[in-house]
């Protein structure tokens, strides 16, 4: 029963992702990554025995801990990559704003026209 529930939840979440991508709330590239993650989670939900086998192989006594550890590690990496990308975008944005203001100033000085409204 639990496998049916987890599998069902996985498909519901995949459906939500599809909606977000269709409505342009989520970029397709990010949607692909999340879809893969949820598909894997849904499949594992239908076949939890896989975790028992893998846990036994790597020496983890309690199999669900392996799943949780992998999930936490993946989320940490995702969060770190997001912050790195945010930093890059923030710096890029700042430099573009600076460039815009300098170009606008020079243009206004040359043309004598007032600056554009935002």
């Amino acid at each position: 029963m639990i496998t049916v529930i987890t599998g069902f939840l996985g498909f519901i979440t995949a459906g939500l992702l599809l909606y977000l991508v269709r409505k342009d709330h989520l970029h397709v590239a990010h949607g692909l990554g999340w879809t893969l993650a949820i598909f894997v989670s849904a499949m594992l939900g239908f076949a939890p025995g896989i975790f028992d086998t893998v846990a036994q192989t790597v020496g983890v006594a309690y199999a669900p801990v392996l799943g949780l550890s992998i999930a936490i590690a993946a989320l940490l990496v995702k969060a770190l990559l997001t912050d790195i990308e945010y930093t890059r975008l923030k710096v890029r944005q700042q430099r573009l704003i600076q460039k815009l203001s300098l170009l606008e100033t020079e243009l206004n000085e040359l043309s004598g026209n007032p600056p554009l409204d935002d």
């Binding site: 930093t87 700042q94 460039k99 300098l102 100033t105």
Partner: protein
Amino acid sequence: MTTLTDPASVAARHRAAVIIPALNESGAVTAVVQDIIDQTALPVWVIDDASTDDTAEKARQAGARVISLPERLGAWGATQTGLREAKRMKLDWVITMDADGQHTPADIHLLLEPIREGAADVVVGSCTERGSKLRHIAWAMMRLTSGLNCRDLTSGFRLLGHKAIDLLSGAQASHLEYQDVGVLLMLDGAQLRITEVPVTMPERQHGKSRIFSSWLAVAYYMSQTLVLGAFKRRPPKLVKRWR
């Protein structure tokens, strides 16, 4: 009236400017700009950090060249805008000053002396007499974490030579949020010669500090600055005191 030695020839001989980042300083900017122009004959650039008052207009009327940012970038972002323009125009040096009247134009000649003698790439106008006991404790903590032994770590009154202009106008410097420890560490890391000269700094005439506007702002500033200092510190190097 105290003037620079040969102010007209200084401005003509050295391609230079005074850069003033300004956020809602309409109360002080007119006097500051006029004072600098009267005493030094240097071009004044006011970088308006998306002010909501008439700072830009008042600065323009006072004789400054105004560069207006469409979005607020903070004091360092605004200063870097001026530095990027200085690099584009291939200026020899720039002076950065605050728009609130805390820095005295008459002291600009003190910052010029080490540059004229070729003894420094960066000159910091230092006034350690100012500020509360808490500020001095903060400075001590910053010196401890960063390894910088500059006495006045937060002074915005600086002269930057062309090497410093090139370095600080680059993308790496855009990662910085404040103009003090991070900037000094970057200059130190590039082996630029940093010198301090004592200057006078009267109390702020208008407005209030943005960094120390609330305890939360102070906590954010201090935690960021201390962590940055610890992560980017280099072996201690003596910052020269100019005479």
